[in-house]
């Protein structure tokens, strides 16, 4: 099973290096990593996906990440229902006949053609990971020139959020981290 981790880190030079060398030291392959600004200034949010079946390694990864100095919080959401989306850009050459076919396919799948330069199109797709994969499979019938996929981006689902007030209280009173809370709740 794939392990998905949300991590909050300080926005400083060298943070990514620490996390990357941590994975390198343990010899784990990162399947994807996506970093970006979060709702708090100066804090970056990472979504890391690793491919590890065994529970021991999963907890090892999590615990080691927590030990890092610049890491503020680690949440393992592999078993929590969450929104897991991906963003992809595909450059392809549909040719004269394929253009209408491409248009149909794109509108059916909720993707967008964002650029058309001398009949070389760039298609933008977002969606659940499988949706994006299926779309790319279907686009293979045209001549694909380039694919750029962002890593998986995760956020815990809304339905799981009914405990939010409870969570905030726990955080304040006991000084728990989010992971401890999610362990307690789910």
């Amino acid at each position: 099973m794939k392990q998905t981790i949300i991590t909050y880190v300080k926005d400083e030079p060298g943070v990514l290096n620490r996390i990357a060398s941590h994975f390198y030291r343990l010899n784990y392959n990162i399947e994807s990593i996506a970093a970006g600004r979060s709702e708090v200034r100066g804090i970056t949010r990472l979504t890391i996906v690793c491919n590890h079946t065994d529970d021991y390694n999963q907890s090892l990864i999590k615990n080691h990440l927590e030990d890092l100095d610049t890491v503020l919080d680690v949440i393992d959401i592999s078993n929590v229902p969450s929104v897991l989306r991906e963003h992809a850009l595909v450059k392809l050459k549909p040719g004269k006949k394929g253009m209408s076919l491409l248009n149909d396919l794109v509108s059916e799948k909720g993707a967008k053609i964002i650029d058309n330069d001398n009949s070389i199109c760039i298609v933008e797709a977002t969606g659940e990971v499988e949706e994006v994969e299926n779309l790319i499979k279907k686009l293979k019938q045209f001549e694909i020139l380039e694919i750029m996929r962002s890593g998986k981006v995760a956020m815990v689902k809304v339905d799981q959020d009914e405990h939010r007030v409870e969570i905030e209280e726990m955080k304040r009173q006991k000084g728990w981290t989010t992971q401890q809370i999610s362990d307690a709740l789910y």
């Binding site: 949300i6 030079p13 060298g14 990514l16 290096n17 990357a20 060398s21 994975f23 390198y24 010899n27 784990y28 392959n29 990162i30 994807s32 990593i33 996506a34 970093a35 970006g36 600004r37 979060s38 709702e39 949010r45 979504t47 929104v83 989306r85 991906e86 963003h87 992809a88 850009l89 450059k91 050459k93 964002i114 650029d115 330069d117 001398n118 070389i120 760039i122 933008e124 977002t126 694909i144 020139l145 380039e146 694919i147 750029m148 996929r149 962002s150 890593g151 981006v153 995760a154 956020m155 689902k157 809304v158 339905d159 959020d161 009914e162 939010r164």
Partner: protein
């Protein structure tokens, strides 16, 4: 000036470590970095945005990336016509009365509602960086509880030549780069 680099790398453990320690060693700040699968199996594609005012140092970043063993190809697209998009997930706390207002903001920026509960909404959007910033400003009146934003992902417009397999196998040290070759490769 911001420098955008498209990099093709081998998909192996430790590759990200090499690239990030290169930036750390030379003390360049990475503004954003996105890694994902590319059209070839075993090859990952990165979009790196660095913020370096000095033009010589910008060239230095390019050539030191090219020298790394696991790096297959590097392309500096800062001044080339390209498409650069960003992806964002926002979680909002709203009351049911505010839902209409949220909906109108979401429609205005071409965003989508992905998940909805009693008091919370998750919104997804993809666009260029400044429009994403505008979207966040537009949603400021509502209570934003979480934001997850990816960095820029970039792709050049029009036809570009594919990376040939010889280039994948060639060790970077074996290639003697002449200035005209370099400029040809960059265009």
């Amino acid at each position: 000036m911001k420098q955008t680099l498209i990099t093709l790398v081998e998909n192996k453990p430790g590759v990200l470590n090499r690239i990030s320690s290169l930036f750390r060693r030379r003390n360049f700040n990475i503004e954003s970095l996105v890694v994902g699968h590319s059209e070839t199996d075993g090859v990952s594609r990165m979009t790196i945005v660095a913020n370096e005012p000095n033009a010589t140092k910008r060239g230095y970043i390019y050539f030191s990336l090219l020298k790394l063993v696991n790096v297959i190809a590097v392309k500096d697209v800062s001044s080339l016509p390209c498409v650069a998009r960003e992806f964002i997930l926002i979680k909002l706390n709203t009351s049911p009365e505010q839902l209409n207002e949220v909906n109108s903001v979401v429609k205005k920026y071409g965003a989508r509602i992905v998940d909805m509960g009693n008091e919370t909404v998750i919104i997804e959007a993809t666009d260029e960086e400044h429009i994403i910033n505008e979207l966040i400003d537009g949603l400021m009146p509502f209570k934003i509880t979480e934001i997850m934003r990816t960095g820029k992902i970039a792709m050049r417009r029009g036809r570009t030549h594919k990376v040939s397999s010889d280039k994948i196998n060639a060790a970077p040290d074996d290639i003697e780069w002449k200035p005209e070759q370099i400029s040809a490769y960059q265009n």
